[in-house]
């Protein structure tokens, strides 16, 4: 979803006790990117946030994202739009070259088993939960209607 007015920048996370960890995202070309408090939050983009305590951050979003998410060859940190969880096969059906998706279980602080395209075991992708995706060629992840 598209962040609503007042929820567009990383400042919404200012109350997080991060124990000296930055908010991060990943750019396939330049690697890890440190997020400043005035940086815009981009839909369908994954962000890493370290918190010493369980915390709820109210976010308001409205409408589908206005832009697609560009994916570069290799690993990308992405997210899906929409309001319901979907299997990776369905949510990523518009991509031709993805091979892996990996999600993170924040309760166990571990990555879940990697989802492999074409495998019997299905990985679920939920709105609001970032994931790693590996693509073999540049692609564009379009927002769900």
């Amino acid at each position: 979803m598209q962040p609503s007015s007042g929820f567009e920048t990383a400042e919404v996370f200012k109350s997080v006790q991060s124990a000296g960890h930055s908010i991060l995202t990943y750019d396939g070309s330049s690697g890890w990117v440190t997020i400043g408090k005035n940086d815009l939050l981009r839909p369908m983009t994954g962000y890493w946030i370290y918190s010493t305590t369980s915390v709820s951050i109210p976010l308001t979003a409205s409408g589908i994202p206005t832009e697609s998410k560009a994916l570069t060859t290799g690993w990308n940190l992405a997210g899906v739009s929409g309001t319901t969880a979907q299997t990776a096969e369905l949510a990523l059906s518009g991509l031709s070259s993805w091979t892996y998706v990996v999600t993170y279980d924040n309760s166990s602080q571990q990555y879940r088993d990697a989802g492999v395209k074409g495998a019997q075991a299905q990985t679920m992708l939920a709105p609001g939960e970032g994931f790693w995706i590996y693509v073999n060629s540049p692609e564009s992840l379009s927002p769900a209607a």
Partner: protein
């Protein structure tokens, strides 16, 4: 002389491109910095290196300190590869090396006071016990992947080549 040439089949196996590991989370540092027991000047650039290659840098915003513990403070962010996990990070101002060195782990943040004193380079190990091992993903190897397409196709040239060779051998008899 009778020769039988069996049918040849070629199993064409789809090759799966090699996949690198998920990039490990960076290691972040902040703290005080002194040169010959004097606070380093504001604006000085501190470099982090692994095996002589720069893996991150930060500019000291104030005299005697770099970065800070706040979420949005600029820290020394070290981006190392998975293959560098466990190797030592060293810290530099120009060609001066700090006394402290730290092993690279993924996803850590550490208050690290840096001291630059001639003769003490790399002599103090400030490595921590890694706490973020769950941020290293286990990606299936190529052998464990499903093969997208597997096709059996007759190899046409092999029977002809084998037949020709046997024909020539037969004529020599």
């Amino acid at each position: 002389m009778n020769y039988r040439i069996g049918a040849c089949l070629l199993l064409i196996t789809a090759l799966v491109a090699g996949v690198c590991a998920i990039p490990p989370l960076p290691y972040e540092f902040y703290g005080n910095v002194t040169v010959n027991d004097t606070p380093a000047q504001a604006g000085v650039v501190i470099l982090a290196k692994i095996n002589g290659t720069e893996v991150g840098n930060v500019t000291a915003a104030a005299a005697g300190a770099y970065g800070g513990p706040g979420t949005f403070d600029r820290r020394l962010v070290v981006n190392g590869g998975e293959e560098q996990i466990g190797e030592y990070i060293t810290f530099w101002i120009g060609d001066m090396q700090a006394a402290e060195k730290v092993k690279l782990y993924a996803g850590e943040s550490q208050k690290l006071d840096l001291t630059f004193i001639p003769g003490k380079e790399g002599s103090v190990d400030k490595s921590v016990t890694p706490s973020q091992s769950g941020t290293i993903a286990d990606i299936p190897t190529e052998d464990a992947l499903p093969v997208p397409t597997q096709t059996k196709a007759p190899l046409l040239i092999a029977p002809f080549a084998a037949g020709l060779a046997l024909y020539l051998l037969g004529r020599r008899d």
